[in-house]
Subunit: 316 residues, 2 copies
């Protein structure tokens, strides 16, 4: 018996066939970029069919999990994915169901899959209360509570990029949220640009880059060269990440918080400093009951999560 | 059949006998103040015995729920209650178990009971994802997720008084947390005193009170008289309550947030303004899926919650 996990992103679709123990038997990546709406669903359906004909006797696909870059609505079985044109309320379940025949399909959001992946095969293995704090272009959280992924009343729980951390409210936060404004992959260069604007006497390495070309990568590179603006930007990011993590600890009392996404990455080494900042703010008992760690699975967290979705669906 | 709910506070112990529909058949209040440790457990045990002999045939107590002003540890069956001297890790379950004989007892924290009470018979009736935001001397939250009360990994979830909302960190927050420092029943007069200190030209009604005697009640009275310092204090409280509520919405996507505790109370009328503040910060879809309301049960939320604890224990 095997299960199939599919991880859909804005640019690629990754698929992996897992055995029951979670070992990858086969994997493949398809290009998504340029496709839209029903084309993307067809790509998924074709890949499902490929895998179903690929596997031999005794190794049949027992269930399929799909991670989507957005929201999966349980009641309507539709999905919202801002990076797939035409997927504002798209009937993905219905569109790929025929390809799978009688085999059950489960669809969930990428952030749900990230924490599932880490709980199954990553740094939250065995946890029942754990959080994946994903910091990439945007910020989102996959939250596991007592062994179940938190959905909320309408499937949009975990929108932690909107966390209010810095009063008073500023119009800058409209459209992305306060936390994401300051401390995401888009936020870090944005803050750097703001600091550069406010400091005409600074003449360091970030001055050599056109402001609109500054990236998180450049900021970390400058940070490594002890550039004062980069240090200020990263220190402020640590403050925001620490406050947000502290709020998760005080509110949810988790066993683990896993930092992942593209920014962790270069920010991996900052986790001890983030814990130190969080320790100032958090409920003081809960902070000693939680471990801060980074993703063990990196870019594979979604596909492992999709595999675990599939496996959980058939009660294994 | 009936169930018994007991609500222990720092100064009194309330008990109520409920029928299956949640109607109160009998209730009583006992004084706790001055007692400590085992004396308080004895008071509870005696009250349980009283009720068991009180009820007639066909009306037997089928289960007992107890709300404690602190934490109830599920694994050890011990409790922590800072206002009961000697209850730092107290074996309450073992101490009152004999009085109940074969009848099951469930013990939970007051904040868990508040949301259970509101879900059973209050303004969150029928909700599966709802939050009780209790603002009294301190601030805590009872959080229901998909029909179950959130416990966290070590039973201390809901410590929302520690929410980080105002950077940078200040040493003032040690011991109570940032949110509680600013916007609790102790925080409101504290902020008023700070504003008074920083405004020597102010000569309004709050100057007529010795600073250490200012209470939340006095601040609201001055607010009603359009006193400028009181307005500033209350507006800042609205900002903090709105930010905290927004964070609950973005993170947990609840159906309802119920504002309760002593401060709501006088702050009841502010709920529309709190919602307005929260709307600025929150994930924009989730804020339209949530209703902000006040406690329907007021001081009875705990006893209703204890009754519902008991009823849920026997699967009704």
């Amino acid at each position: 018996m095997s299960v199939l996990g599919l991880d859909l992103g804005g640019t690629k679709l990754a698929a992996a066939l897992f055995n029951e123990e979670g070992r990858i038997l086969h994997r493949v990546v398809k290009r998504v970029a340029g496709r839209k709406g029903a084309d993307v669903a067809r790509l998924i359906a074709d890949l499902i069919k490929d895998y179903m004909s690929l596997v031999g006797k005794g190794n049949e696909v027992a269930s399929i999990g799909i991670s989507v870059p957005g929201i999966s609505y349980q009641a309507t079985r539709k999905v919202w994915a801002p990076n797939i044109p035409g997927w504002t309320d798209y009937p993905l379940y219905d569109e790929v169901g025929d390809a799978a025949g009688d085999i059950p399909i489960v669809i969930d959001s990428d952030r749900s899959c990230y924490i599932l992946g880490e709980v199954w095969k990553g740094n939250a293995a065995g946890c029942r209360d754990a959080i994946f704090l994903g910091v990439g272009t945007g910020i989102g959280a996959g939250i596991m509570i007592n062994g179940e992924v938190l959905r909320g009343s309408h499937d949009i729980a975990g929108a932690i990029g909107w966390m209010a951390l810095d009063r008073p409210f500023s119009k800058k936060y409209v459209g992305c949220g306060c936390f994401e404004y300051h401390a995401s992959g888009e936020g870090i260069p944005r803050v750097a640009r703001e600091f550069l604007k406010g400091n005409s006497r600074y003449n360091g390495v970030l001055r050599n880059i056109a402001p609109e070309k500054i990236t998180t990568h450049e900021v970390f590179k400058a940070f490594d060269e002890e550039d004062p603006i980069a240090i200020k930007v990263i220190n402020q990011s640590i403050e925001f990440w620490g406050m947000a993590a502290a709020n998760l600890v005080s509110l949810l009392n988790p066993e683990k918080i896993i930092f992942g996404g593209g920014v962790f990455g270069p920010a991996k080494r900052l986790v001890p400093m983030i814990k130190e900042e969080a320790s100032k703010w958090s409920q003081p008992v809960g902070i000693n009951q939680v471990i801060f760690d980074v993703s063990a699975l990196g870019g594979d967290a979604g596909i492992y999560g999709a595999g675990y979705l599939a496996l959980r669906r058939i009660g294994i």
